[in-house]
Symmetry: C2
Subunit: 209 residues, 2 copies
């Protein structure tokens, strides 16, 4: 009933970079923990990975980005929920999930790497959209802070499969199983201020989560 | 392009308890920040609310639950992503979302309140399932730690609606809009070890996220 511990067979932890990378690449949003005036704070933010670096961004005036710029310790956690695990006892109810936790110190990003991060982020969220956009301006670049986090201290945890009930409980006539959870995109909603005659472009129509 | 700042019209922050409560009640999982041996850590965990208290649980041996038991400062953040906001510039790309951030100190929960929390959690995840389950044992109760967090220091942020582009960019022939994101349940997958002849019960068949 908890997501926080290593359990028996169905749950496993790993430091395998490919596993960590796949989870980071599948998640749109991560939760970043840091110290804000000495108090633990957790902020949701878009996340993108390039190689062995994860990147977050935001206003240079925000507490999170300022902490990252100062090289403060941060913890980035991403979680994908794949299903409800319905056991025969309340105790063994759980969730199937994939999560990655990255510990490290922020590194301030500038120049070419910063441009690459913006492009990678747009490409991650909506592949193929970037060439259609009005290019970034210097002012916009300056108005956004980018912080990198190395992936050398990263772990992943994955739970899959059916419930893990007490052996005696398998004799009970209680339906148990998994209810898969999926994230889907609904039909695009055009901006009311779109120019007349614009139809939904291919790169939007073919989006998949 | 960030989830971390208050922006113009489409984004708003509030301390309204009804708004905070609705977000906590809609989210299955929260991310809890705390200090683990002096370092910021963020752990995903199921979350349930009763009145003006949010509850998390886990193994009493886990770092998070031990911190909560000790009355440490924690920060609980829940985030629901409602859509991709596709603007005319990379800079104004964003996400529609609802998030709640709760700051406070953990409070160790025992006795009747602990039983109520377990029941509320099962009822939240799968309404109507509780009466069908093998009852909790004393051993299971003891093997689970529950930590409460008061909601008096809670804020919510919500972004809705179309992109907020630069005024001049609205003249560009670039399709902009929102791609709604929805969470859905797929068909239940029975545990291979279910007793023969058990069909999917109503309380599972009618589940909605």
């Amino acid at each position: 009933m908890t997501l926080t511990e290593f359990k028996r067979l169905p749950e496993r932890g790993t430091n395998d970079p490919d596993t960590v990378n796949a989870i980071l690449d599948s998640a749109l949003v991560g939760h970043v923990g840091f110290l804000r005036a000495g108090h633990p704070a957790v902020i949701p933010t878009l996340v993108v990975r390039r190689g062995d670096q994860a990147y977050i961004h935001g206003s240079p005036a925000s507490a999170l980005i300022r902490a990252g710029k100062a090289g403060a310790e941060i913890c980035l956690t991403v979680t994908l929920i794949d299903g409800l695990v319905l056991a025969r006892s309340a105790f063994h109810h759980s969730a199937n999930y994939r999560s990655a936790v990255v510990y490290g110190q922020g590194r301030w990003v500038e120049g070419e790497e910063k441009v690459d991060v913006f492009e990678a982020l747009v490409e991650k969220i909506v592949p193929g959209r970037l060439p259609h956009l009005r290019p970034l301006t210097r002012k916009e670049m300056a108005a956004t802070g980018v912080v990198a986090l190395g992936l050398d201290q990263a772990t992943a945890k994955i739970r899959t499969g059916p419930p893990a009930d007490e052996e005696a409980d398998y004799d009970l006539a209680i339906w148990a199983g998994v209810v898969p959870i999926e994230t889907v995109f609904a039909d695009p909603v055009p901006d009311p201020r779109n120019q007349p005659g614009l139809s939904v472009p291919d790169h939007v129509g073919r989006l998949e989560p």
